[in-house]
Symmetry: C2
Subunit: 426 residues, 2 copies
Amino acid sequence: MLNELSFFEAAQSIKNGDITSQRLTRDCLDRIEAREKKVKAWSFIDPELALRQAQACDEADSIKGILHGVPFGVKDIIATFDMPTGMGSPIYEGKYFGYDAACVALLRASGAVILGKTVTVEFAGMAPPPTANPHNLECTPGGSSSGSGAAVADLMVPAAFGTQTAGSIHRPAAYCGVIGYKPTFDTFNLHGVWPAAQSLDTLGLIVRSIDDIELISAALLGRPVNLDRPQILKPRIAICKTPLWNIVKPETEEAIKIAQETLEDKGAEITELALPRKFEELVPARDIISSYERARATSYEWFNHRELLSPQLSKAIAKGFGWEYEEYSDALKVGEDCRKILSNLFEEFDAIITPCTAGEAPPDRNSTGDHSHIGMWNLLHVPSYALPTYRGPDNMPVSIQIIGRHGKDNKLFDVAKWVLEQLVSP
Amino acid sequence: MLNELSFFEAAQSIKNGDITSQRLTRDCLDRIEAREKKVKAWSFIDPELALRQAQACDEADSIKGILHGVPFGVKDIIATFDMPTGMGSPIYEGKYFGYDAACVALLRASGAVILGKTVTVEFAGMAPPPTANPHNLECTPGGSSSGSGAAVADLMVPAAFGTQTAGSIHRPAAYCGVIGYKPTFDTFNLHGVWPAAQSLDTLGLIVRSIDDIELISAALLGRPVNLDRPQILKPRIAICKTPLWNIVKPETEEAIKIAQETLEDKGAEITELALPRKFEELVPARDIISSYERARATSYEWFNHRELLSPQLSKAIAKGFGWEYEEYSDALKVGEDCRKILSNLFEEFDAIITPCTAGEAPPDRNSTGDHSHIGMWNLLHVPSYALPTYRGPDNMPVSIQIIGRHGKDNKLFDVAKWVLEQLVSP
């Protein structure tokens, strides 16, 4: 079925005239029809609206752009002019904002078909979503880009937007066994993306094939696709166990160990990186920044619709309004200081491999899991990937996280691609 | 009349029971009624809606917060749940977005009365607004926070929001002869503020008395008001003529010269700062960043409603889509590099005094004037004030710009207050 194609393969096949956008879109819709009752990855799907976009692509005189005719899922905190944007909250359920977020308008301008809106945790926070993990319906898919992770993993759509303030791209990507990409902070335009915490929020991608990242990034940034850079032969990779190594489960330990051994075998220069003590402050600092800023960003809802907020979110907002401003500024300073240190450390290697989640997706639909392994790096504004390279004791996906230097997303792409090829190729 | 009170004075008077919010709000509305036909500072005013808020303040059992009962103007790119937000564009004229921007919700929670929406240049850009300069109706009020500058200067409202991407707070503040405050980048929450260029946009304030800044900042940031810091006695001030000194008019030269001489007389340690050559790249770099990011942020309107965009904005967007991604990244790097250099230079002084606008407001309603003197500092993310200290040959206001160190907004407030007292006190 065409819904099994990666975004990149689908774009190539449509461009070459081998398949139509309508066939592809129909196969995605059929998959959704078959599975959605169980997975609950979508907050809005209108098959006719999706098929009309596909038809317009098929009937166009020439291709509109590099994403021509390929379906894409949009996390439901991102505005779409022709679909409601509900924020996973009863306050905005069914709400039409009347414009497209910049990222959506840019995808459409490059020819993508906006298939529908994927489930978000309430305001990209921490309340449990309706979505199930497609690998085991008893498990959480992670959050807050829960629908994007589940839909891409379950072959309902080849790619989708996620946003990350702590671990909201990489956690669902890892738990669902697909690729998550969080660019350098402030890379993709955020207009029309509902904010959680403005100094942390980053728009990114969830896909099944790493070349999709290059294609979609090129469309969003207005740059040429470049998959012909010289192959990396001996990447310098630092293995970093982080101050959180004591809460890592055996399957993640194992995933890191296998990566280390295999990559060294394949020619990588492997070193071990012990982070300076200062980095122990990252998790609490991120938590202060996130809740301080979230409280402000959600102040309209807090002061006017408090009864419609989940207990989890209410607690976070109350906490956020409780911080002294000095505590918040000090937390920002921790981020700044560690960014400078990390930038110097990066003289010694090309990428860092580190845990992504503690382990497999927890068999618990009332939580979205721990985000601390991802959140500490998110405060550093560096680009990163979640790469599904391993399976845990319950045969659920386990990922490693690979971190690049600030602003060097292309370099990280090359290293991540090489790493995936060594660890996952048949 | 009560509309002549500063925001701070009004807040004190209401708190002390000397005046009511309704009396104050009525005096503001009367002033608007008398002058609005000529000045055109407002895009939305509903007197009953404003008076209902004032009445609720007067009838409350206790004061709601430190801004209790004082009217405030909101630039019309900032969302208000009970008033339309038109962006200065026919695309959004009369549009209700259904929520308050974070900054508006926070002001309301501290008791402010949202008086109405002030005119913005189309999407905070460069097309001429309907607004006139209250000091001379033939002159531009500057932009893009045109209505906020004019309304505060014309005693219609004591304070208003502005936003700045190049010079959109300080230019209208300077041309209209009131105080502009642009905080360190990313200080006030931007949720609900329509973006122009996300790595430059900053929310700030336009007021008539500098203590207003402390009061309103405290409300927005959730920190205590502190006007009792020890008075600054011998601030170290650098006079910086910048690479743009050759396009400064005599009145601005004179304003800087008088500031230099008077402040030295009053005890300041004055030095002259010659910026490194690298800083000559700031104006073109800011221009690239601004148009690149604006094109993305306005992509929905560009691809769907191009016929409703002004020629000025269309040109800027087309330019923005024309940059190579490398040119944009290089421009970002210029900003980063100069921020580092400036941070080191700041070891030697407490603040920089530099031109704000080239000179008085141009007698031209088809332009909003030159923003380059302000824009180059805006790319540096540092806090700054426009301080009206002088009058030009046509008796129009002329300001100096005072720049502080990144994140040191409190320190800059103290220095700016001292400077104003030396230069403007009777």
